[in-house]
């Protein structure tokens, strides 16, 4: 049994300072993705007041981040009632720990890390997907090159069915799902994901790649034969 990541750690306890991949190095093709962590003086001020115990400021922080945190929880557990509980728990923990945020990373990265830990603890409690999560965090040896060779006439041709993709994402092992959601859905950079999940940047890249390969396999299975052009 591989050593599980420790979800109970406080969010910044092991926060590495990895800044070699900054927003400036974001590839040109991805600029349509909304920037996740723009410098935001208003949020900085709200954050400082919330850290000082200002309840209204904390309410503002909730308003600023509730959608992303709730959506993350929802995608991870796939269940509305549970996602609501987890969102609530994440913000209660935020309230308890907000004084420990030191600004080593973007606040949203830190908050996501905290929320992810809440979700992971819940997944573990349910005994669900633990092994797959740990596996996904392990650097895996070569996964049989050639498994992604497919006939070129089976390409997805740009049109992906929404329901098929949602189903395929829901079927991913939890670890792959988490990285896919953080990177491709939420737009976090690999260095941010690595710091949230306590893994290396290379590991984040390779797990994302495997997640996309799995999704591709799943989506190709659903391609109607007639549309193979």
């Amino acid at each position: 049994m591989p050593r599980p990541p420790s979800p109970a750690q406080s969010p910044d306890a092991t926060m590495p300072k990895r800044n070699e991949e900054t927003a400036a190095s974001r590839p040109a093709g991805r600029t349509s993705f909304t920037s996740i962590n723009p410098p935001n003086p208003i949020e900085d001020d709200v954050l400082a007041r919330a850290q000082a115990g200002d309840h209204q400021a904390f309410a503002q922080l909730y308003a600023l981040h509730k959608r992303r945190i709730y959506s993350l929880c929802l995608r991870m557990v796939g269940n509305i009632a549970e996602a609501e509980d987890l969102t609530q728990e994440a913000f209660l923990q935020l309230h308890r720990k907000i004084g420990t945020f030191r600004g080593d990373s973007a606040f949203s990265t830190w908050l996501h890390r905290l929320a992810i830990n809440v979700v992971l603890m819940q997944l573990r409690k349910k005994g669900l997907s633990l092994i797959s999560l740990d596996e996904a965090m392990e650097p895996t040896p070569e996964e049989g090159p050639g498994r992604s060779f497919g006939a070129p006439d089976l390409t997805l041709t740009g049109a992906i069915d929404r329901l098929a993709l949602e189903r395929a994402v829901a079927d991913l092992p939890a670890g792959y799902r988490l990285i896919f959601i953080l990177h491709d859905v939420e737009g976090f950079e690999h260095n941010e994901i690595a710091s949230m999940l306590d893994c290396s940047i290379g590991n984040s890249k390779s797990q994302l790649h495997k997640a996309r390969l799995k999704l591709r396999d799943a989506l190709r299975k659903h391609l109607p034969q007639e549309t193979q052009l």
Partner: protein
């Protein structure tokens, strides 16, 4: 080992996570220019990444969550400090 142009699909795909993750422009990669299979693979992966953003809009959590958070905070406050908060 081999020249870049003679890279096999397996070798190329072994480098893909790093190539994609670093955001390099791969359109002039010698292997891609020659290999239809890997071009198709790359196009599919890009299609999936692009679709992710559009297909998963952020959801608005129900308003009751904040009410629950607030009441939980109040009862936590009550436990930690018996003095009423001066506002």
């Amino acid at each position: 080992m081999t020249h870049p142009g003679e890279m096999s699909c397996a070798e190329f795909q072994a480098h893909l996570p790093e190539l994609i993750g670093s955001g390099q422009d791969m359109s002039n990669h010698p292997h891609l220019r020659e290999c239809e299979l890997c071009r198709a693979l790359l196009a599919d992966l890009q299609t999936i990444a692009d679709a992710a953003r559009q297909l998963f809009p952020q959801e608005e959590p129900p308003a009751e969550i904040w009410d629950k958070i607030e009441s939980a905070l109040k009862s936590e406050d009550g436990k930690e400090e018996s003095l009423p908060k001066s506002k």
